[in-house]
Amino acid sequence: MEKRIREELLALFKSKLSRPMEMYLETCARCGICTEACHAYASMPLPKYTPAYRAEVVRRIYKNYFRWQGKTVPKAGECKKLDETIIDELKEAAYSCTGCRRCMVYCPFGIDTQQIMSIAKLLLVGAHAEPELLSLLADVSISKGESIDSFKEGFLEGVKNLEEEVVEKWRHEAGRTPIPTEVVGAEILYVALAGAHSIIPAAAIFNAAKENWTLSFFEAVNFGAFVGDPTKTKIIMDRIINEAKRLKVKEVCICECGTAFRVMSQLSGSRPFKVSSITEVHSRYLKEGRIRLDKSKFNVPITYHDPCQIARNGGVIDEPRYILSHLTDNFIEMSQDPKYNWCCGGGGGLVALGEETLDFRMKSAKVKAEQISKTGAAILATACENCHTQLSNLNEHYKLGMNVQFLSSLVSDALAK
């Protein structure tokens, strides 16, 4: 590796060395408590799939360049030079970790392997060795932000095509637009995904609750975060922040997308609006009596998969259960404590990489498939696009015979007058 490239990569490494990150890199006692906590290891017991092994790939570089060991006893201190040979190791470590942070809740020191993997991802970006597709998706989002005015007309026409289906789900007062856009002073800016399934049920529920809402021109998902590029993450996030400021909305509601919710709620700094997940908003509508649900709609056992970025990492745990209590008397928990729920196995950009990662995703989430199967439920609900795709893949692969549904779709199908 050329000296100049190595220096650039080390500068990127250094940019990540916050106080907590240094603690994560310094502290591991190799107690092994986290080993079985990782779904990848629990499903495929190979040392390279343990959280501590993954972290060690990055930690060795850290010791070599940022600690005394590298300067005095590089061999004894288990140091590793940053060169081409370590790129593949970084890739394997980073892209076999879904960033679910289940290991972190087990680790006695709270070591955040997802954060350590963010260094690995950034080094891969710096070395142009990241999955090309994820960078392309991030660039598409950025390009959209730069030329949104030229795309607006087409988008509005596409949205108009969905109105009929929204009204079929909920007939609201005459004269109101089923999918409002560009409403200055709206209470809520709803940020959806590109798909109609992310817009239609949400719109029907907003209308049933008589909400003053407006649909964003942008998609919620942040591929900059998946690929681990902080600059792109910020540009993609800022498109939505600027839109929310321009429209002077009070609240930004993020659709069923875990990464989008985590990025907007935890990385957007101080902002003149509140950030909520759509699950929180629906739970609030039920509490305030703004919507009612017909419990007789689904007379089968329902279980719920907590998306890691929304539940364990986002704190939204009670709200989906409150919604479910209005949907069914036959709710089955899949995990004793939702904080310790198994990851679906599709996070961290793995689902976005599609077929390429399918085999690994299916093998590494065997424990998840077993957990779902044990519930004996007929409907498997979740509140994240990524999880929904992965759970649908698992459903097919392991022949679970479940009906995989978005929680918001269940809510919109059970809306009662």
Partner: protein
């Protein structure tokens, strides 16, 4: 532009989860030769902003976008 464009490959991208429409079209375009055209069909409003942005980023050209009922047909020429 009302002339009929003949597609060398047709891709049905209706109802796919995020981000599969863009992922599939990125792969699909590589399966035709430079100068050839793919027709991508979607029902997602987001495709109307995603596809032009993707074409710009990946250096391909959207020759025509046609809406018929709920379906949106994109005719995309591979440029590189």
């Amino acid at each position: 532009m009302n002339e009929t464009i003949k597609a060398d490959k047709v891709m049905d991208l209706k109802g796919l989860p995020c981000p599969m429409p863009v992922v599939k079209v990125s792969k699909g375009i590589k399966e035709v030769a430079v100068g050839q055209v793919i027709e991508a069909i979607s029902t997602d409003p987001g495709a109307l902003t995603d596809f032009p942005a993707w074409a710009k980023t990946s250096g391909n050209q959207i020759l025509k976008t046609e809406q018929s009922g709920k379906e949106i047909h994109f005719f995309i020429k591979r440029l590189s």
